[in-house]
Amino acid sequence: MLRGRSRVGQIAAAVGASALLFTKSALADGLQHSTSVFEPASTPATEIHHLSFFVLEITGAIFVVVAGLLTYVLIRYRARPGDDESEPAQVYGSNQVELAWTVIPVLIVVVLFLTTARVIFAIQDAPKPQAALEVTTVGHQFWWEFLYPKQGIDTVNELHVPLSSADHPTPTYIHLLSADVDHSFWVPELAGKTDLIPNHPNDIWIDPQQPGLYLGQCAQFCGVQHANMLLRVYVDTPEQFAAWVSNQAKPGVQDPSVADGRHVFETQACMNCHTIRGTAATGRFGPDLTHLMSRDTLASGMIPNTRDNLRQWIKNPDTIKPGSLMPAMQLSEQQLDQVTDYLETLK
């Protein structure tokens, strides 16, 4: 049982180690993208990017003109030391001037509005091609569930999608639902964000044109661990994607050497929340664990998926993600070892 400083120390250690590991994995892959809105890698993000530059040009021009005028006025019309006390000429107004600086902004508004409307319709009302992959995302406090209805897959936190290209588009259409409160799906390099609202399904699409790992996170405050509801989108080549899908579609590995651990899992209430396909565990409240070991991270992108991290998580999730909805199951050290061994076989 950890308290106070040592608990903080634990968290610091886990997270510190993860920071190192992440940097390492990023260097190893060489393909971890950033979260900048100025590096689009998918059509919706690219459309937004182009529009944003147009808008920046217009607002930049307005800024130069008005700030320039302000600067000029401050210099030219400042009170000088040798001035007499007389008041300058009082000018009450001018209808022509008022008209001019009303009409010009109206024209700017018309241009901006028409340009913007075109992009809104292009992104929101884009027709769905036959080759599109369909994924349903369910937001939970504080993790992401990804269902691939046509492939019969249910995975968590790490979304795999196929690479798309301009001549052979294979976009991914994502249907957004929520199991509890409002969330928001935001991977800046792939698309603008869209909210996951209970009882209010939404749809977005992405067609990433560069492979690699894209980062994002929940962008609508959803509770105490909103900050750690991280997103990892893996854009796979067609071969990688097919391999991933076929692995995910298999039922959970049944390794007799970890039968003890599986027994712990089934008798210590784990199966009330978690599913492992092919076993009696069909809980829906927590993440599907069938292919837990195929994921790089735990706790929704917070920490690397290592044995130590997994064991610590099961022992007491609050030491890693305070406020997470998984309770500490009060397992003995032996039970912890056994169940961790079992989970480690779920590739």
């Binding site: 903080v8 610091a12 997270v15 993860s18 920071a19 992440f22 940097t23 950033s34 979260t35 809105v37 100025f38 937004i48 529009l51 944003s52 808008v55 920046l56 607002t59 307005i62 800024f63 401050l74 019309y77 400042r78 009170a79 008041e87 300058p88 009450y92 107004g93 001018s94 001037v97 009303t102 902004p105 508004v109 509005f113 409307a117 809104i120 319709f121 509890d180 409160v181 409002d182 800046p188 603008g192 964000k193 869209t194 609202i197 209970p198 009882n199 209010h200 939404n202 980062l215 994002g216 929940c218 609508q220 405050f221 509770g223 105490v224 909103h226 900050a227 750690n228 917070m302 305070p322």
Partner: protein, 564 residues
């Protein structure tokens, strides 16, 4: 600027003051039972400054936590309470009371009245507002809360449902939020009614609406406007409490209720609310810029029309806070258009202020320094606002630090700057003493620098993909350096505000005597003594134009000659 005291013989009450036995208690008693608009205005101002310091402390804690990635200075529970309270405090316990501080102190003086229309309602409104604030802060110590550290609200200042329903917020944090704001809401409605009735029914003889100082015009629109702005929030909060305590289903998505209905109701309040908060800045700017350019305001009728136009159009833009919730493309397009349209009258105001300065003799006293910075910063805020109105770009920037940078450019860069400007400008009137110009300039430059270090950089934090409401962030996001710079700017601003607080208190006792009209100004409040007597004017003023003191000082060239 020679001083002139005792006015018409026989209009002063010469009864000697009664004997006072306990001076401190007497003074306190005086203030507690007062219905005088000047004292109430000053109490609203003191309440705002107090809560400004409290909310400022809250954000400094936030900035320390976010200085570096994976920090452990604040727990997530505490952090979430800090930013919720920071936002809620700044809007409802600083921004709103400021509206009534300015309106109460200055409107009667500017329109030649002796008090507001309903002095007792005025006192009631103030005490309700203060009590609501105290109730909100009681949450820190009242009850055990959900995760310890008290029950302060921790659901963001928007309090989106269904997070705020009992199922997801079982403690009392949300209740403190809703109840405290319902209570301050009563104060707000009372204040708005008072402003409306005062301006329409208490103007001195000759002061038609188009001869009112623009300050009073803008505050009048604000007072009327607030009646339909705060009330939707009150309604939504009552619905929330019905859901939480009477088993209602307004926002219960399991029973067919809608989370988006809360969003619509909240933002129907929330967007016009920011105009309610910014109008005093416009009002003060119109006065200060005139006086320190030595020129009449350019385009008075256009300025009035612009404020009225902004108020009307601003009730049609609310869903630009909801571009990401999945509205239809046509709805999104509509709100892009309406939001851009409200930018037009707003821009017109900036042009009119510039035209006022054009051809003038600009004096860079402290109030004017803040007003000039306001012009620059409000321009920038408007431009980033245009960027945010572009719905597709909004899909990237919503919920990110870019938005925080934008609205702090409005709330701090425009409103707080003009609050400082107004305080430096009217402090001499309220106290009879000038604030120190030297300290004022130190305050200005440090605050200006700190403001820009924080909020300029913050735009880029948003561009780098950092969302709001997060108590920490991983090291591999690349946000650490920018956040550190942002935090340092916050500390600089904090120091500047401390200098201001010192200036305020020191000048109260040791400031140079101001006289009635230290700035050589043109509106009625400068015609009476500093501070004004409790009855404001010895005799009811009669005016012939919108700058009565200009007419008196320039009998060869009065405004009424030009049909003003």
């Amino acid at each position: 600027m020679a001083d002139q005291t005792l006015p018409i013989h026989g209009t002063l009450d010469l009864t000697p003051p009664r004997e006072r036995h306990n001076l401190l208690l007497d003074i306190l008693h005086d203030w507690v039972i007062t219905v005088d608009h000047k004292k109430l205005g000053l109490m609203y101002m003191m309440m705002s400054i107090f809560f400004l310091l409290v909310a400022g402390a809250e954000v400094l804690l936030i900035r320390i936590q976010l200085m570096v990635p994976n920090n452990h200075f604040l727990s997530p529970q505490t952090f979430n309470r800090m930013f919720t309270m920071h936002g809620t405090t700044m809007v409802f316990l600083v921004g709103m009371p400021l509206v009534f501080a300015w309106a109460n102190y200055i409107i009667p003086l500017q329109i030649g009245a002796r008090d507001m229309a309903f002095p007792r309602l005025n006192a009631f409104s103030f005490w309700m507002t203060l009590f609501g604030g105290l109730l909100l802060y009681y949450s820190f110590i009242g009850g055990p809360g959900l995760y310890g550290t008290g029950s302060a609200p921790d659901v963001t200042w928007w309090a989106y449902a269904p997070l705020t329903l009992k199922a997801f917020s079982p403690g009392n944090a949300t209740d403190y939020w809703a109840l405290a704001l319902i209570v301050t809401g009563f104060g707000t409605v009372g204040g708005g009614i008072n402003i409306l009735a005062t301006v329409l029914s208490m103007r001195c003889k000759g002061m038609t609406l188009m001869r009112m100082p623009l300050f009073s015009w803008v505050m009048f629109i604000d007072g009327a406007f607030v009646l339909i702005v705060i009330t939707p929030l009150t309604a939504a909060q009552i619905m929330l409490l019905i859901d939480r305590y009477l088993g209602g289903h307004f926002f219960d998505t399991q029973a067919g209720g809608s989370a988006t209905v809360w969003m619509h109701f909240f933002w129907i309040f929330g967007h016009p609310e920011v105009y309610v908060l910014v109008f005093p800045a416009f009002a003060i700017a119109s006065e200060v810029i005139q006086i320190f350019s030595r020129k009449a305001l350019f385009g008075y009728p256009a300025m009035v029309a612009a404020v009225v136009g902004i108020a009307f159009v601003s009730v049609s833009v609310w869903a630009h806070h909801m571009f990401t919730i999945g509205m239809t493309s046509s709805s999104n397009a509509f709100f892009v258009l309406s939001t851009e349209l409200v930018g037009i009258p707003t821009g017109i105001k900036i042009f009119n202020w510039l035209a006022t300065m054009w051809g003038g003799k600009i004096r860079f006293a402290t109030p004017m320094l803040f007003a000039i910075a306001f012009l620059f910063q409000f321009l920038c805020a408007g431009l980033t606002g245009i960027m945010l109105s572009i719905a597709p770009w909004n899909w990237q920037l919503h919920g990110s630090y870019f938005v925080i940078a934008h609205f702090h450019y409005v709330l701090v860069g425009s409103i707080v700057f003009m609050v400082f400007s107004g305080i430096y400008y009217w402090f001499p009137k309220a106290t009879g003493r000038l604030m120190s110009e030297t300290l004022g300039k130190w305050h200005f430059w440090l605050f200006f620098i700190g403001f820009h270090v924080t909020f300029d950089v913050m735009h880029f934090v948003g561009f780098e993909g950092m969302p709001r409401w997060i108590y920490t962030y991983p090291a591999d996001r690349g946000w650490g350096t920018l956040n550190l710079i942002v935090s340092i700017g916050g500390l600089i601003q904090g120091i500047a505000v401390l200098i201001f607080a010192y200036n305020l208190i020191h000048s109260l006792f040791k400031g140079k005597i101001a006289g009635n009209d230290p700035w050589d100004a043109w509106t009625l409040e400068w015609a009476t003594s500093s501070p004004p007597p409790v009855y404001n004017f010895a005799a009811d003023p009669v005016v012939r134009s919108w700058r009565p003191l200009w007419d008196l000082k320039h009998p060869e060239n009065p405004d009424w000659k030009y049909d003003q």
